[in-house]
Symmetry: C2
Subunit: 197 residues, 2 copies
Amino acid sequence: MSELLQPLEPLIQALRRLPGVGVKTAQRMAFHMLQRDQEGARQLARALVTAVDSVRHCEKCNTFTHETVCSICRDEGRDAARLCVVETPADLAAMERTGAYRGYYFVLMGRLSPMDGVGPKDIGLPELLVRTQEPALQEVILATSFTAEGEATAHAITELLQGRSIEVTRLARGVPVGSELEYVDLGTIAHALVDRR
Amino acid sequence: MSELLQPLEPLIQALRRLPGVGVKTAQRMAFHMLQRDQEGARQLARALVTAVDSVRHCEKCNTFTHETVCSICRDEGRDAARLCVVETPADLAAMERTGAYRGYYFVLMGRLSPMDGVGPKDIGLPELLVRTQEPALQEVILATSFTAEGEATAHAITELLQGRSIEVTRLARGVPVGSELEYVDLGTIAHALVDRR
């Protein structure tokens, strides 16, 4: 990094912590925000602090929410016999948009990835174990990604729930192998939901 | 945007003001910063505010600096007869790295782009006119990009300085047409500097 860009250096370094942003992209972002959109820069700073300070995890399903318990978990009209385990809030949103599911959710906020140091506790498996002790629950539907890590996560949860009187199912393989749920078309997700095994 | 992602919505919208960031990328960034790097989020927020509040423009060359006048403009060992006009601080840094130039700079912080509402005042042409009135100045070297907009900017500056006793030169066309200076290899830039016409 040239000393000539030194006044922007702290901002460039901070921008590089965003996923997928390298040094050239960070330089361009820093330049753009300072030169063309200072109000946008302030807005982003406020949004970051507000989000970190005010967004919390739902006590029941672990998704992001401003409340203690999120709106889906508060909805008593849902099917309490089913719990769908997804990796991210975006995956949850994709499931909801299919309109094919009326049960509750548990959001792992990630997937097992020993290489990146993401273990069972990091994806809330102890909390999931507690959640699955609710008497009404009959079925846990594993809707983690059909990637190696997603499959390993599904496998770990299956083992975790073994010996309990709960049916553990997996989305059918209608979902293309190697893809992430968030990016799959809704029809495919709906089909995979019906075919769960 | 799903209401399920609503707690992240202000952050996602703010991230979309970064250049080249669409809604999916913004979602992934927001999710990553909240879930995996809250300290990074706070650091980015601080860096944005600090940059907007403390980075200013050099009174002589218009580049970003923390001082009134930047380190290059304060360097009295440079060739006061030459002024190199570049579009961005990154372009200035590329020129410096060639080691082939020892004069001063003027940084436009953009280029003429009527379609985007960027006119002569937005790229500091009035300030450039003032800067070129210094008695020692003999030559203005136009090092704007060899794109349509960069060429139009060079043309506009040439017209602006017409009738003055200043030689106006342009980097030689050794720089590949259609590319931006920042990304050109240093040898090519050095060659184009020697061949200026």
